[in-house]
């Protein structure tokens, strides 16, 4: 296994389209890093550059300390699992698994032993004589994984490996991949647009958008400390609520900064006073996760913290919880609550939240401010 390092990797196409605009990051030995982003953000291109299927316009790619820019894919010692699996349709499972070993000139008996080992690991022993078209989606997926495993490569590259599976299978294979990663202590780079996969699998997540890296962090920090508006909006479901306004510094006591939303003013909490001191009058966006918003029950003693009043617009029960959409002023806020039975659409509701759960971003640059 080996570490992977990217330095200033750029991929620009003729005609000026830039797929990757300067990617610099490292993947440690035995680490599983997820490249996360919406489709067309350049994450797959980046993976293909590491695999050697695309040539970067600029920058260097290192695998195990060696610059591999000019190496052919087969000389990089990387294995890739394709979104479409790309199994050789005319070969049996056994031949598919053993193909790379056969090309390497590994003897028939050694090949068979290694194939059997991997087949056992992936529960494919009964399928060795079958053709890919005779397999179910999940089995094909496992063969694709197995084909990568057989080679014992330095680095595993996985390009949306679960996106062709149905939801039930997906979580099963996800667990499988996590298990394999732990067991093999393999270096893995995993591309997905699915944040659940990213959060559950990644030791670190590289969030990308428009060819640029937005944030590189552990899953929890990406969720709790999104570096900018894009990451804040992309990670989390339902996504973060945003309230745009102008920052007001209170001169008199209490010196709590406030956000003027137009229809109301939002207290941002005293602890932020110092970090926001220089930003008076700046346009900011306040972000609140749906689970950080709470309903104020009528009749209950008034809670501390800011209040927002509005009307209930939509109730979406999903079983174990309910999503409520509330119109406050000119914005809609979504909150996540335990199952609600008593509320009706149109009811007036009051929301509250803890000010330390607020995320603040500069409205123009999108960057996080005043942490």
């Amino acid at each position: 296994m080996a570490a992977v390092a990217l330095e200033g990797v750029v991929k620009a196409y003729d005609g000026g389209r830039v797929a990757v605009a300067g990617a610099t990051f490292g993947v440690d030995d035995a680490e599983l890093v997820v490249l996360l982003g919406p489709s067309g953000c350049g994450k797959s291109t980046l993976l293909r550059i590491i695999a050697g299927l695309e040539t970067p316009t600029a920058g260097t790619v290192r695998i195990g300390g060696r610059v591999v820019n000019d190496l052919a894919p087969k000389d990089r010692d990387v294995a890739m699992v394709f979104q479409t699996y790309a199994l050789y349709p005319h070969m049996t499972v056994e031949e598919n698994l053993g193909f790379s070993l056969r090309l390497k000139g590994v003897s028939r008996s050694q090949r068979a032993a290694r194939v059997r080992e991997v087949a056992a690991l992936l529960d494919l022993e009964g399928q060795l004589d079958r053709l890919p078209r005779q397999l179910s989606g999940g089995q094909r997926q496992r063969v694709a994984l197995g084909r990568a495993l057989v080679r014992e490569p330095q680095v595993f590259l996985l390009d949306e490996p679960l996106s062709n599976l149905d939801a039930r299978l997906r979580s099963g294979v996800r667990t499988e991949i996590a298990r394999l990663h732990r067991r093999l202590r393999a270096t893995m780079i995993y591309v997905t647009h699915d944040q659940v996969e990213a959060m559950t699998l990644g030791q670190r997540i590289v969030v990308m958008n428009g060819g640029e890296i937005q944030q590189i962090d552990t899953p929890l920090r990406v969720y709790e400390q999104p570096a900018n508006l894009f990451v804040a909006g992309f990670v989390g479901s339902p996504s973060m609520n945003f309230l745009r306004g102008r920052l007001l510094q209170q001169q008199q006591e209490p010196q709590e900064p406030q956000l003027d939303l137009g229809f109301t003013r939002l207290g941002l909490g005293k602890p932020r006073a110092s970090s926001l001191a220089a930003q008076d009058g700046a346009e900011l966006v306040a972000g609140l996760r749906p689970e950080d918003l709470h309903l104020v029950t009528a009749g209950a003693p008034p809670e501390a913290g800011p209040h927002l009043s509005g009307a209930l617009e939509l109730i979406e029960p999903v079983g174990n919880e309910t999503f409520l959409t509330v119109r406050v002023g000119n914005v809609e806020l979504v909150l996540r609550t335990p199952p609600q039975r008593l509320l009706r659409v149109g009811d007036p509701v009051t929301l509250t939240f803890a000010t330390d759960r607020l995320h603040l971003f500069d409205a123009h640059s999108g960057r996080r401010v005043g942490t």
Partner: protein
Amino acid sequence: MRASHFGWLFAAPALVIIGVFFFLPVLGALALSLTDFDLYALADLRNLRFVGLDNYWQLMHSREFWGALGNTCYFVALGVPLSVLASLLTALLVSSRLTRWPALFRTALFAPVVTTVVAVALVWRYLLHTRYGLLNWALGALGVHPLDWLGDPHWAMPAIVLFAVWKNFGYNMIILIAALQAVPEELHEAARLDGASFWQEFVRVTLPALRPTLLLVAILTAAGYFQLFAEPFVMTQGGPLQSTMSVVYLMYDQAFKWWNLGTASAVAFLLFLIVLVVTALEMRFLRRIEAP
């Protein structure tokens, strides 16, 4: 009951047309092949006699027929593999990512298919000319003595094969280009990551993916090549020494040179049976390969 009646009604126009213009003539030819229909019968139908399988019997014992069949098989055996190979090579070249202006080449290479045999055969006669031909000039540059392509019984058929291959490869090329495009790009990428060289990738990934199409193309080409006629008709008139006399040419001679329409119909039917058997065998082979 009623629905099926309507079904027949809808199918009727097509069935009538197929019946009148396809099955009727075939049946007519079959009937004709059992008679001694000739110039005398043409003059007065009372001269027509039913001879049973006599025409077939005669053909089975005619050196001309076996010679023509041998020539045709020679043409098919040499022409089909060469045609398919030429189609495959050009399809690969045109589909290559390194090829500039693929549309231009695709069109240019397809052009021979849409030209008329007679017109281009005249050009080829000139290309194959013993003294002034381009082919002999090129061979001369390599130090090979000029060949009398169309005048030498050993070389006349190969010359015709060369011409037919040139004339026909473009059609199969288009089919194979489509088949090549149907091979997912990821398969090639997976092979390259698995460590396949260019040649290994071709033999182990591209070729197996093309196999059903290659066989289909071979079957269609063979069925067409068994009906060899226009090329020798224009270029060699079946000569020299009957070396380019094909089965269909023999049929043509019997019918429109000697007016032995009965014999000609028998030739046509025998060829039909041969093509049927060969195609059936090929189809069987194809099916076995496609569904193991």
